[in-house]
Symmetry: C3
Subunit: 260 residues, 3 copies
């Protein structure tokens, strides 16, 4: 992949203002642990969350939404069918959507199988950690539940291959974030270790990516901006303890200095 072009984020203002002006409705079928935090993070950046999960209405939600997030963290047979219906509808209506394949890998077969079914509906972006990206690319990964133990550097080739194979964007986050369409790759450094010690920061970032790609002409750069914004907010947030950090992270996102 030596021919891949490499980018740094330089300009976030237009992307952030785009959300504030459009107030995109982001439909989220996400895990039970992070629904509240995810909704609050979407509201903080100026988007509007919707969280319906019933099979009877997820297609209707996709109809009115500007983008969709599917996160399989607490997948259940009751919600798996809703996820598949929503993804199918998003493909049909060309609604941009993000797949967050939480904890896929050899140890957990059910969710891995559903993740592959979801992949067949052409997600606009796959947002995951290195272990999840390696697993989706059919490679050996080291994870322990939702916490992956592979580095993003070691999985960069896998991310680029996966993006090419599925004609999608892979936003792989970790110590360094890589956002790639298989040809062009953004890399983002920074952030803070505390981001890994509050539940739902990764899941909520996937929702932010969904907000950023809504009605966007450049989903690759938009996805990279979302990742940059989360890392920067993590750097700026108060770290006197993990409770304060999670609240301060919301404060930083809701008052983000878009002149960066």
């Amino acid at each position: 992949m030596s021919a891949a072009k490499s980018f740094q984020i330089t300009q976030t203002t237009p992307f952030i203002n785009h959300i504030k002006q459009q107030r995109p409705l982001v439909h989220c079928i996400t895990n039970d642990v992070v629904q509240n935090f995810t909704a609050n993070i979407l509201l903080a950046i100026g988007a509007s969350p919707a969280m319906g999960i019933a099979e009877q209405e997820v297609a209707e939600f996709v109809n009115i939404a500007d983008s969709l997030l599917i996160n399989i963290g607490t997948i259940h047979s009751n919600t798996a069918q809703s996820m598949l219906l929503a993804a199918a509808k998003a493909q049909q209506t060309q609604t941009p959507w993000v797949l967050d394949p939480v904890a896929v890998g050899a140890a957990l077969n059910y969710r891995t199988e559903i993740a592959y079914q979801l992949l067949s509906f052409n997600p606009t972006v796959i947002r995951g950690n290195a272990s999840e990206i390696l697993a989706l690319n059919g490679q050996k990964s080291f994870s322990k539940g939702p916490d992956g133990q592979d580095t993003t550097q070691s999985a960069l080739n896998a991310a680029q291959e996966l993006a090419q194979k599925y004609q999608t964007i892979v936003a792989m986050t970790g110590d360094v974030d890589y956002i790639t369409n298989g040809n062009s790759t953004y890399s983002i450094t920074g952030g803070d270790i505390a981001l890994t010690k509050v539940t739902g920061t990764g899941c909520s970032l996937s929702a932010m990516v969904a907000a950023f790609i809504a009605n966007s002409p450049d989903p690759l750069s938009a996805s990279a901006c979302a990742c940059f914004m989360m890392k920067k907010a993590g750097e700026l947030a108060n770290k006197q303890g993990l409770g304060t950090f999670s609240i301060s992270l919301l404060d930083q996102l809701s008052t983000f200095n878009s002149s960066l």
Copy 2:
């Protein structure tokens, strides 16, 4: 509706003290996004939350509860049946109950149909935004998921009609809150725009209404007091960012100056 009597809240102390003294058990079948925030808000005002959802036990919960909240935000075929059983039991035992018809309207048929079924069990209060009240009253509404886009002023007649039609109280909240039984109407101004940017403030207000009407001889005034308390807490809360605001809102509710 020119004959409707109009009221302002002047005295919240007796209502707030009533909750602190009685510590009502409020059974909540509410949406997955806001269960935690709702429980914490109920505890903050001195009520006791219960959150059971199984078909096998919701009637038992209603039996021991002082009031009931049903919120259809993340309704699913698994919980719809529980909601109907709980509402039927509340009607039978004359337990006061609140219906929060989240996001009903033409775009979302399943939840709208369930909301009408729930209405047949005589809710004591319907708490919703203007778009939801218009939709329940069979009128055209403009909403985008859970965020309504109609003003409460434009929906006041609908609220009064709906209250009369179902012999209930309608607590319609927004820029101005109107709480009406079809004949007498409280109007409440104030509050803060930040209340619309934290998920679950409306849903939790519905739970507060359920706490205020428990064992109350005057559910109309009690409902209006709940709305007033939320608006006032929103005014007083720290607004340095949306994370801080949500925590400060809980602080304000838990230390509310009942001498207002």
Copy 3:
């Protein structure tokens, strides 16, 4: 039970450091209200939470987990089966596990029946309030939903009998916490009334107990340390309001002074 040995906690450092070094994966099948708070509390003390709930994968989660928590607070027919499967797997793999029998008692039959089924899979620890422990021991209890109204002092004999009957540890928390295996009993005083006014502190303590007993040679002392840590964090947390308290509690747990 006059022959029971009585202990006070004197040394928490080794137990707390054990978690930070091992970073145990604690699989939680817990109630919808507290999943987020529970995950954040586990992360705060240095453990790693996993929250899968599907019947198809709970056994796989137990396979990779260091310990398991089952909390029946919002039990549903969809999750009851998952709980039973996970408990059976934990028994088979000798994975230490904690049962939190939320609100069991005469008023709520469904969950009480499931709790007894779960008991047959030999939980390592049962963590509950006095009313729940009395109820599980077949005695009359006074509870109103999840809030018990019996004192731990009045239920101490029941806790010791229950521990002997099921060859388990009972961690009964309240004004005074008692942690007993039927022969030896720790008692822990202190804490703060605010701990009873934030939802999920008891449920999250059960998860902390699960983290402390992971790979522990002394689960009785480990369970007592978890209870001590929660009481102490509650004493130290900022009490300017219940919102601030809940965040400060997380701060205190994440920065706990292990030299106590």
